[in-house]
Symmetry: C2
Subunit: 183 residues, 2 copies
């Protein structure tokens, strides 16, 4: 698929998935796209676990409360290791781990779209107060220095996409000086 | 350009740029790709200023110390408004502004690549202790609640890309449980 088509077709999908497995080579292709994203000072702070074992995936999805993407046939779990990239002029340590994993996730969502699947960036749901991500990480035997921050379901969507309302270009962008209409 | 080609061809470029203008419609196409990225709870916290006025661009680049992308014929400045997406179960306000702008930047870098240009994600350089981004924002009359966090130069590269060494797939990814070789 053309890049532009993937960028504008990508949307968060929260509906049901078809009961159809995702071939391992597709999952790997999506993950390789994620790992090709840039990272601050090339620290490569993002790590991925693909899950296509149905029993394991069931265990992980059962941790989610309220349930989400319960019918997904596969998923990619995104982990971060918050390494310091460098220390700035005021002695403040700078870490770009969030930027790193967000760029990786966007590459994966675009590749999911290009392969004809749907997904949704599920982060807050598992990183909020009740730490569902930490329990998923324990189930996967993830070492303590890696933090599980996102689950991306992967599968063939059964429903239509619901498109969010987006602001006009002129409300978010301008040229050669500030002239954006605030919202 | 195909999505996969753009993802694997994209690299940070720190060399000189050709003295060739970037048509406004290309700049706008890149910015629209950025605004099409997802945002946490659809808060649309990312804002963009395209700069193709040479005198203004000169003023902005002159703020950068040490200099960077000094020969770029155009640039896109990325701004964020750190709005709270929601408050979690422990009463902690959650904000996804960093994730939002990082996904937008990745979409723009891919589109830059597809159009035959080069760029580089310049963030720490202008957000560190000496606050060069804040001075750029003042030059552009940006209101105080918007933070200028990144400059993306855009132009035709004159030099070859220098490719960073990236870890193997098995050092950053695995399937169905933790089996990554740490580095």
């Amino acid at each position: 698929m053309e890049l532009t088509e993937a960028i504008f077709q990508r949307h968060s999908y929260r509906g049901a998935y078809a009961d159809r497995p995702v071939p391992r080579e597709h999952l790997r292709q999506i993950m390789e796209a994620g790992l090709a994203a840039p990272s601050g000072c090339n620290k490569q702070t993002t790590f991925l676990i693909g899950v296509d074992d149905r029993a394991l995936l069931r265990d992980l999805l059962d941790i989610m409360d309220p349930p989400a993407c319960a019918t997904a046939p596969a998923a990619i779990l995104v982990l971060t290791r918050r390494r310091i990239a460098y220390t700035d002029g005021n002695g403040v340590p700078r870490c770009y781990a969030v930027q790193d994993y967000a760029a990786a996730i966007e590459n994966m969502l675009l590749t999911v779209t290009a392969l004809g699947y749907a997904s949704c960036w599920i982060e807050g749901h598992i990183t909020d107060a009740d730490e569902q991500g930490r329990r998923m990480a324990e189930r996967l035997n993830v070492p303590a220095e890696y933090e599980l921050i996102c689950i991306l379901p992967v599968g063939v969507p059964l429903d239509d996409m619901k498109l969010p309302r987006k602001r006009d270009f002129s409300q978010r962008a301008c040229f050669n000086g500030w002239s954006i209409t605030p919202f």
